[in-house]
Symmetry: C2
Subunit: 397 residues, 2 copies
């Protein structure tokens, strides 16, 4: 057994989160694509059976009250809250990430307009996952703003008295780079603008600290590190102090102060429910609720520590096994700048990923030349990491 | 046995759709709330088990291709298409009805703007389900239009050279009144405006004829007469000739011409996928797909004929059993003006509905004084109808 295999065993033996793996349905493959779709939590199938057969099939409409369907968006939001450093009552679950980006960004621009100093520019992360940019373009167009893409590092110098809102990704979907949320948020605030963060690639993998750092609005998906299932609903965070000023571009009946009053005039609900729109997709939402139970008693700091240990070890194994120069890492070496994935660039990356998958190592390929490996600390172990790097080396050799 | 009980037996015996009831999970209650939440189709639990355990649990991300997750929104749209009189390739499933109303109405206003004659008014059904009005208000605000609520009957005279778009409900959620889609659509077109129809309370209960009548855009939910499950995704219809001019206010990455190209600039997909936004909620969506299988080989004209026979018979039984003057029907007597529900008004309607439910007749209450009874032709029979009217009479007596 190689030195790194021995080290992997030792790391696994010392891993205080190792027991969580049993709470997921996994097979012999090394699954390093949890940053695309999280693995199935073992509690979900039984819960879905109950939701479908008993709650829908037997109780039918009574479930809106009796099974807690109606309040699910806020209740599940409160389950996500501690994972992103938010006190209860500030997160609501529902709709896709794209739709929530639209709500958050339009609301932020309206808050800036309410401040009365004529701000008309939205700054956006130029390296963002594209949907954020497309939606930000629409938000700008519909609010009379201009959209200005800059790299996150350029944000402090790009902020001006015209800046209304800034939309940033906490972790870059491609490179895995972690951006400095506390200092960027502070810079945005110093310029008198509103900070909107996209947490898709950070929530569930590392501490976010929304309340602590005074983030204004945030959105995120739940099907990556939160394991909510394919296309499970996204969430929207609106800081408590801003909730009364949250003016939604999608004021559906679920966000009304009195949804069953059926009143012709809109009056927004107080608190997190103001971020709701239409009828929540209960099946997807309650699968997410069951999936979130794996987090009970799991400290996010321990998750972060293991995540860094996993990516460190992967980089170590790649350096040891892979011929020098065969791959180039896009992921920052500094812990403070690293999310929970490692992205490497190599020629023929599409083919390499295909062969990796054939050999039981599941990551994904992002054109033109990037191999992405996501490390979900809840179910990936150090032996998985060593094996993935070893198989990658074999393919590249 | 009373005369009406005998008649119910005869009607059930002659009902060519009676066999469909076995395709649903029902119990001894008379379920007349399918216009709120359709009953569980028997095929759904097994399908969900497969989707959760095999497609998500075992295949994981491979299911985006191998299990057809990626193309589900268009594929399921094409399954809904024949039920609303649409040729394939014009309907996409996803998001809530409210979100789709926003897409459709903003797109309609932009089409009108593209026509170049400075139209800046949206007409809306003043008796609409409130969410349509709230969302239309936002669409108007964000496109620089004014919103003018009128009753559907007033639409023809309210149309002017300023009218950009008209949003109407095919069937009124409260009274069950069916509006005249062909003639109203023709009037809207004659005025040079765009017609947007909300089909929530008609699709699956009666023929709609979207293509035949030249409807421009339409939206609808799938959890009522289509039995898709609580909060199952809604759908958006864009007439083929208008697809190239559909300019979405929610241009998420799923609507991009090349969604996996990860390009910074937005370029809309051709056809129905242009109406997509973010990642589709697969669990809810595939439950809907299984639910739609009950429609295989079911002609919508036969469904309409049975629906009218059911509501006729309910009105007949109510007239025979309920003391004169105890209830007042809000549902038009004329078939051409009746959807698939009967709404009656009575004092203490909330308490009456509570006692009906206790006695095994499930309808719903809409403030301040309306009892709603929905008749889903796929699983409601004539004996159910007679029993419901008899129990209602007993409570009111």
């Amino acid at each position: 057994m190689s030195e790194l295999m021995t080290k992997a065993r030792q790391l696994d033996a010392a891993d205080e989160l190792a027991g969580l793996r049993a709470k997921f349905v996994l097979d012999e493959a090394v699954y390093l694509d949890g940053n695309s779709l999280g693995a199935l939590p073992a509690a979900v199938p039984g819960r879905m059976e109950d939701v479908v057969r008993r709650q829908w099939g037997a109780l039918r409409i009574r479930s809106w009250e009796e099974s807690g369907w109606w309040t699910a968006p806020e209740r599940i939001g409160d389950r996500i809250a501690p994972l992103v450093g938010a006190a209860p009552g500030q997160i609501v679950v529902g709709d896709s990430t794209s739709v929530n980006v639209f709500k958050a960004l339009v609301a932020a621009v309206r808050m800036a307009a309410g401040d009365g100093d004529g701000r008309d520019e939205i700054l956006i992360d130029a390296t963002t996952f594209p949907t954020d940019g497309y939606i930000a373009g629409s938000a700008a167009r519909m609010t009379g703003c201009t959209l200005r893409p800059v790299t996150p590092a350029q944000v402090p110098e790009a902020l001006t008295g015209r800046t209304a809102a800034v939309l940033l990704n906490h972790v870059d979907y491609r490179t895995g780079r972690l951006h400095d949320l506390p200092s960027l948020t502070a810079a945005v605030h110093e310029a008198g603008a509103y900070a909107v963060w996209d947490l898709c690639h950070s929530a569930g993998a590392l501490p976010v600290g929304l309340d602590e750092h005074g983030v204004d609005l945030a959105v995120g998906c739940t099907y990556k590190y939160l394991n909510g299932g394919p296309g499970s609903p996204a969430y929207l965070y609106v800081r408590r102090e801003l909730q009364d000023r949250f003016d939604s571009p999608l004021p559906g009946w679920n966000s009304h102060a009195e949804p069953f009053g059926m009143r012709p005039d809109y009056a927004p609900a107080a608190g997190a429910p103001r971020g709701r729109v239409g009828t929540p997709d209960i099946l997807s939402m309650l699968a997410l609720e069951a999936a979130l139970e794996v987090w009970d008693g799991v400290p996010i700091d321990a998750v972060r520590a293991k995540s860094l240990a996993l990516t460190d070890f992967f980089l170590e194994c790649v350096a040891a096994y892979v011929p020098e120069g065969a791959v180039e890492s896009l992921t920052p070496a500094a812990h403070a700048e690293r999310g929970s994935q490692v992205a490497v660039r190599c020629p023929d990356a599409g083919d390499v990923m295909k062969r990796l998958i054939e050999n039981g190592v599941v990551g994904d390929f992002r054109p033109p030349d990037v191999l992405r490996f996501g490390f979900t600390p809840l179910y990936v172990g150090f032996a998985d990491v060593e094996r993935a790097a070893r198989i990658l080396a074999g393919i590249l050799d």
